[in-house]
Symmetry: C2
Subunit: 208 residues, 2 copies
Amino acid sequence: MLVYGADGFKMARISTREQILQEADQLFYEGGFEGTSFADIAAAVGISRGNFYYHFKTKDEILDGVISRRMEATRAMLDAWAAENDSPAERIVSFIRILIDNRTKIMDFGCPVGTLSSELAKLDHAAQERAADIFGLFRDWLAGQFRALGQEERADELALHLLGRSQGVAVMATAFRDESFVRSEVDALEARVQALCLAPSNHQPEEN
Amino acid sequence: MLVYGADGFKMARISTREQILQEADQLFYEGGFEGTSFADIAAAVGISRGNFYYHFKTKDEILDGVISRRMEATRAMLDAWAAENDSPAERIVSFIRILIDNRTKIMDFGCPVGTLSSELAKLDHAAQERAADIFGLFRDWLAGQFRALGQEERADELALHLLGRSQGVAVMATAFRDESFVRSEVDALEARVQALCLAPSNHQPEEN
DNA sequence: GTCTATAGCCGGATAGAC
DNA sequence: GTCTATCCGGCTATAGAC
C-alpha cells in the first residue's frame, strides 16, 4: 500500500501488514484489546475486513504482532536513552520522564504495558506473559543502570520498585484525571535517584 | 429466591437482585466488565437471561449497582478498621495489609478498583468517575488517618502516595505473578508509617 | 493483494406466556 | 418473578471473484 506525504508528492512504501500493526497498536492502547474489533482496525487502515485476513488469520495473531512491535520499540527506546546519556542516573531519569512526556495519554488510557497486561490477565489470555515481557525489558535495563550506580545487591529490587511506582502513578492519574500527582511523584523519584548517586553504598532515604 | 445452607435446612432469603449484583461483582472483577456477558451472570445466579431483565434493564444498570455495592462494602471495611484499631498508624497498616491478605486474587486479577477504573477509562464509559469515587473513599479516609498522625499539611499527598504505591504493587504482582515483590513493598510501606509515627513533624526518610 | 458477500456465532435486549 | 422464544446487531472468520 502506498502512503503519500502531506504534500501529496513524497511517498513511502509501507507494507499493509505494518500499517495494520501500527493502527492496532494504537487502538489496543486506547480502546483495549477486547474493545477493539477487526472492523475498527480495518477502518483505521482503510482496507476491507476481508483483506484483513490475508495478513492475519486471527485476532490473537495481531495481538502477537503488536506485542512484538512494542518489544522492538521498547528496545530501541532503551538503546536511545543509553546512547543519549552518559551517566546511569541520567538514563534512569529518562525513564522517569516518560510519565511527564506522556501524561496526557496516560490520564486518558493509562500505561500501555500495564493496562494490556492487566486486561490479558483477566481474559486468562495466553499472551499475558509476553505482554509482561515488555516490563521485563524495562526491569533488566533499569537493574543494569542501578548496578552501574553501585547498587549491586539491590539493583533488581530497585528496578522493580521504580517500575511499580510508575505503574501506580499511571493508575492514579487515569482514575482521578489529575496530573499534579504525576508531577509530585516524578519529582520524588528523581530526587531519589540523585540521593542514590551521592551515597551509593548503603540504603537510601527517600522523600516523596 | 431461596438459598439453602450447606445442611439443606437453614435458609436465608436473598433477593434475586442482590444475588445478581453479588455474582456480577465477582465476575466483573475476575473477567472484566466487557468480558462478562449477561449469560455468564445468569448462569452464575442460576436464572434465565429473560428473568434478568426484570431486575436490570441494561448492562450499565448492573455496573452502577455493582459500583454502589462496592462503595458500601468499602465504607463498611473502613469503619471496621477504624473500630478495630485505636491508633491511626495501626489503621493505615490495616489498609496496607489488604495487599497481603488478597495477594492470590491480586496476582490473578489485579486490584478490583484499579482495573475497573482503567477498563472504564478505555471504554470512555460514563461510570468511570463513579468507579474512581471508590478510590476517593480510601483517599479521604487515609488522609484523615495521616492528619491524626500529625501530618496536617501533607495528609492528602501521603494518602495519594500510599494509594498509588498499592496500585503499583498490584499491577506488578499481576504482570509477573510474583508475590515476593508484594511482601517487600508492604514491609517498606509499614516501615514508612512507623517512621512517620516516631517523627511526625517533618519529612520522613523512607526505605524500600 | 484487495475486494464483496456471506456464514455462523454470540452479544444485549424485548415480548409475552405462565 | 420467572420462564421460553425471538429479534437484531456486531463480532470473528471464510469463500471466492477480480
